[in-house]
Symmetry: C2
Subunit: 265 residues, 2 copies
């Protein structure tokens, strides 16, 4: 496993995962494409005329549910294979995709522990007043299979963090990734459309891994998982399909490590 640690592998996650040994990873955090199915060409505008920038990247496009399901089953199967019997996996999604993801997980024999609700403190409002504000995402937490025992869960620590009461699957209340935390490109536009907040990933790693554990992320994006893992003393590696994001992540991680070293001087 040594050769993987600290690396962002550039490539297709289904292919690249084949090189990872069975039962070798303590924690999987996966933020897959959501398959949003937004109508083409139509732009949502705010009252002031500014546009809401939607997720319309190529990597979120699929021909059909069937295609999305086939894709999903492939990477989930590999994640299940490489996960240690004592490890756990987390998959985040929204109503567009999470039901399909959850069903496929169950069909593979992956065993659910919780479906955690990330409640957003500052969600995008519903502009046309025809739905409830979509203010959450769902994060499935699961073990390799029904027989998994002694999986890592820092129950007492989470309880402490929660003011002495056992933490609930609805206690995950965080803001979106905005402001300084949000990576910008050279034009000042968000570098990645779906960058996740550090706090969310931090809570995941604190809850279900220990120092020195190996954390794996099949969809690295801008490297949030890596940064949090570094900060918490976990080993990590991951895969990212887009060259652009690989480079952004590598820069981000280098910069982070430099800052850390400065502080410890």
């Amino acid at each position: 496993m040594k050769k993987f640690i600290g690396k962002i592998i550039h490539g297709d996650c289904m292919e690249e995962m084949k090189n990872i040994p069975n039962n070798s990873v303590d924690l999987v955090f996966a933020d897959p494409p959501y398959y949003l199915q937004l109508s083409k060409g139509k732009r949502l505008k705010r009252a002031d005329g500014s546009e809401v920038i939607p997720v319309c990247d190529e990597w979120d496009k699929f021909e059909s549910y069937e295609e999305y399901d086939a894709f999903t089953e492939k990477w989930l199967k590999e994640c299940q294979r490489i996960l240690k019997p004592t490890g756990t996996m987390w998959v985040i999604g929204m109503y567009h995709n999470i039901f399909r993801v959850g069903t496929i997980m169950q069909n593979l024999g992956i065993w659910f522990l919780n479906d955690v609700i990330w409640i957003k403190t500052d969600p995008l409002p519903n502009f046309n007043g025809r739905r409830f504000t979509n203010a959450h995402e769902t994060v499935i937490w699961a073990v390799k299979n029904k027989n998994s025992k002694n999986y890592t869960f820092n129950y007492e620590f989470m309880k402490k963090m929660n003011g002495g009461r056992q933490m609930k699957d609805t206690d995950w209340v965080f803001g979106l990734c905005k402001g300084k935390e949000r990576l910008k490109d050279e034009n000042g536009i968000k570098a990645h459309p779906t960058q996740k907040p550090l706090k969310l990933v931090q809570q995941v790693l604190l809850a279900s891994s220990n120092k020195g554990d190996i954390v794996f992320d099949p969809f690295m994006g801008t490297g949030t998982t890596a940064v949090v893992a570094e900060a918490l003393g976990r080993k990590w590696f991951g895969i990212e399909r887009e060259k652009k994001y690989v480079e952004i992540s590598q820069k981000r991680i280098k910069k982070y490590l430099k800052e850390i070293n400065k502080k410890s001087d």
Copy 2:
């Protein structure tokens, strides 16, 4: 439709729904079996030695995911058929079943509006400290298909109820059905293991139906939907497989109507 109104049909919902015309119902509220897959024979005990009574009724037993899925697809298909193009449907579930239910809904072309999170103020704690407290259920809100227009949604009313801000899918915070609201059998034991709180169903009906609308419940249980519909001036009918629950519901509704009439005297 007249012959159905105010009736609890005793029978299998898939069979009985066949008699309901296409596009005839304004609102479906469905609380299907959750397929909990609890291990047989094991009893969960509280610290004081008392037993937690689980859901282990016959109606929640299925041989496999396949069987559950087949059952689910059948009743969902009928619900989609009888739903008006302007109507909406609600399906409640937990992580054991809601992912399968959601996937099947999408496969049938049912179009999601929201996945509402019912946050329980008084959940059963996690006794062994191996998971997060499961403190929510998921309620999928959807229309007949992608082309549904002018579906009923009392946006402004919900906004008002929410203190002037548009209601979020995470603003559904209610206690469990307990105390006086909870129906007891002759031995003082809960009459139905999964009786839903009136407030939850009330919010559903207030949000997505108007006075005089027809509300349908394929799994009536103890008749919560009927009682709320009566209280809010909606027409209603439903189906229940268990004779016991049909009788309990009928008694409950009669009692409720008597109370109403007394008050209006």
